[in-house]
Amino acid sequence: MISILANPHRFLKFARFAGPIFGVIALMTICLGLWLGIWHSPEDYQQGHSVRIMYVHVPAAWNAMMAYGIMATTSLIAFIWRHPLADEVAKACALPGAAFTALALITGSLWGKTSWGTFWVWDARLTSMLVLLFLFFGYMSIWATMEDKKKAARTAGLVAMVGVINLPIIKFSVNWWNSLHQGSTLSSPNAPGLPTDMLIPLLLLTIGYSCFFGWVVINRVQNSIAISKKQRRAKENKAATVTMETL
């Protein structure tokens, strides 16, 4: 699959039908998830209505980690096989990834105020999420400041690959250290689990956010390919003009 999409022409063909599909699924699942989350899900017996923050906080945090995971994997692919499209995918993941990380931090902070009585604590889970945001910023600033795009891709790719160590830290921080943040509710077999009324909007919004992320990334990569084509054409025209002048 990866080798098929590594060709820009094949990627564009894939993007032309996959982009709108991701977009439509995202729109439908997000609207339905928000409607169920706000109007139909029950309140928690301990947390009351503040539990509704979970429906926007958990999908944002999950997507932030997924974005970084894809960014690091595609950077590794670009590093090994030197395929420029992999770098473009990594670059395209950075902005939505940073947005989802910031969203997870803001909504988590507001949820923290209702549950723990404070907006922020230097807890392992919260701190590692903040580190993730800085990693996204670092990655984007390398692309923005280095003029040589090949060097920028290599340096930013290294940052992405080294920073991937933060993902297991975020995931397991609640098990490794004492934390105010609750443990995993869905993936742990010993966890009490969620009632269906709460699980459905959570899953819908998680699918919706993921499809939205996919839609944004596909569009951003399409734009990068369009920019590269324009730059190549401009270079060719310039070279042709110089050749004509010398003749």
Partner: protein, 41 residues
């Protein structure tokens, strides 16, 4: 089911989270549409 549900003492926190989320998603959507119109002519 009322049109605007009452979330009691947590209303400000819950609604802020939802508005910030919708704002973030809409910002990314508009940015994407803007970049599409700029680069794919």
């Amino acid at each position: 089911m009322s049109f605007i549900p009452d979330f009691g003492k947590y209303a400000i926190f819950v609604w802020t989270c939802y508005w910030v989320s919708v704002f973030t998603l809409l910002s990314l959507t508009f940015l994407t549409f803007f970049q599409n119109s700029k680069h794919r002519k």
